[in-house]
Symmetry: C2
Subunit: 281 residues, 2 copies
Amino acid sequence: RMELDNNERRRKFIEFPYVSSSHKKLMVDLVSMVETRLDSQLLPCTLPPDVQYYQNQSDTSHASLHIRSGHPSSPIDFILGSWIHCQLPTGGALNITSLSTYLKSSTDSPNFFMDIIRSSPTSLVLILDIPPRRDLALYPDYLKKYYEDTNLEAQRQVLEKVPEFKPYFSPSLYIRAFVSPTVITARIESDSVERMEEIIQDHVGVVAKQVLETWLDTCAVVENGDEVDENEREYLQKRDLLVRSKTIEIDLASSLPRLFGPETADRIITTIQKYSSASSS
Amino acid sequence: RMELDNNERRRKFIEFPYVSSSHKKLMVDLVSMVETRLDSQLLPCTLPPDVQYYQNQSDTSHASLHIRSGHPSSPIDFILGSWIHCQLPTGGALNITSLSTYLKSSTDSPNFFMDIIRSSPTSLVLILDIPPRRDLALYPDYLKKYYEDTNLEAQRQVLEKVPEFKPYFSPSLYIRAFVSPTVITARIESDSVERMEEIIQDHVGVVAKQVLETWLDTCAVVENGDEVDENEREYLQKRDLLVRSKTIEIDLASSLPRLFGPETADRIITTIQKYSSASSS
């Protein structure tokens, strides 16, 4: 089994080496959109090499993690990208790629969240959203500002019109509860690998970039008057911390030990928890 | 045009005179389930006759409203049933039947909410839920108690398996935001009137009764230790009032004036607002 040196481990994240070319291009485009636009606000990734890239003992599961914190003066707390690749006993492979952003409690703007789950080259599950950081039933102005006025519903409808589109319901009710009313949750099954590549390029990719663009334009910038009152930050911090810890628990704590063994899983989860629980304002 | 006497107006609600026999039977069954189980806790309906039953000047729109408040010692604030029937310019008719329940802020249990919208004898839109009264992202124990442990997801899946089932997305993002992760929002189009009658009886009806049964067993009863702390009641009252006023605005304030004229619409909306804004604890 070939060992990677530290530089190779660093490069692994942006290579997305196990996914199809459309899927890779989409992830690279999204990560560059975020890193280009927020460049001056982001610190370099300082994860240890064995967290930036890791694998299991039998070499059947590989994964990469990329985390960059925001500057102390930035509203960005951190951005998190990752991919996981696992050979399946059936001969196929499971590939998951994710990109999410986390804001500090100095602003109450929504975060960005995207998961793409591929259990075969002709299937794709997408969860794409700017999840709210307030109870929308109690804050209709927040709903209007970030969801109605941004017209994210139009993006959801674009994807709904793809003939292969089916709605996807996460088995986790918590995941369903923390997303927005314009969340895109899709299960797409295509007849051929070529058609799936086309769907990713022409539909999933276009919509994902538009939602990320909306997040960058509307949420990642804190304007005068957008700052959260000192006494509301406590509420936001409490809610943020709970959402972060619940989503880590649901996304990773159940699957990583199975895929990478308890020791590696512990290393990765502890690292993500360290960023997630910093709760900077 | 025939005028109704007061007794006839009172009876009109439970007659559901304009909907199909399956639809009528379902509504009568649901209303009796609630009134039988909660009978000792409910005061009689004291709405004025011209609110219990009303129509427009040209006699093309008819509607009925039924509200019963809970006893001062009951956790029930009020229950609200209604139907609306409107002849359409196309020759068909629009029929909407609703049943919802509202708890006091002495308990934080979910309410019950059901709307059935028929724009033709072969089409049906259903919104069926026990909408939460807390921010679920912040209260995972509440999510577990009322949504995971009650297994409401199984009911959603029962309806999803009906071949004519399609997911329905409310045009109002606020309606989408205040429902639970196990909300049933369905648009069903059948080939024939007979098939729709069968779907209502065997699927929509069975599921609606099961969800109402869950609400009656789990939410309508306040057990020792379920009481809400004095200092949390203020939060609940604020949230309840906002949700009630927003849903009235979305459901009625836009459509009633058009269907019944401004004077009647004002009389009905003012009455509902009186109950909704009482905010008893």
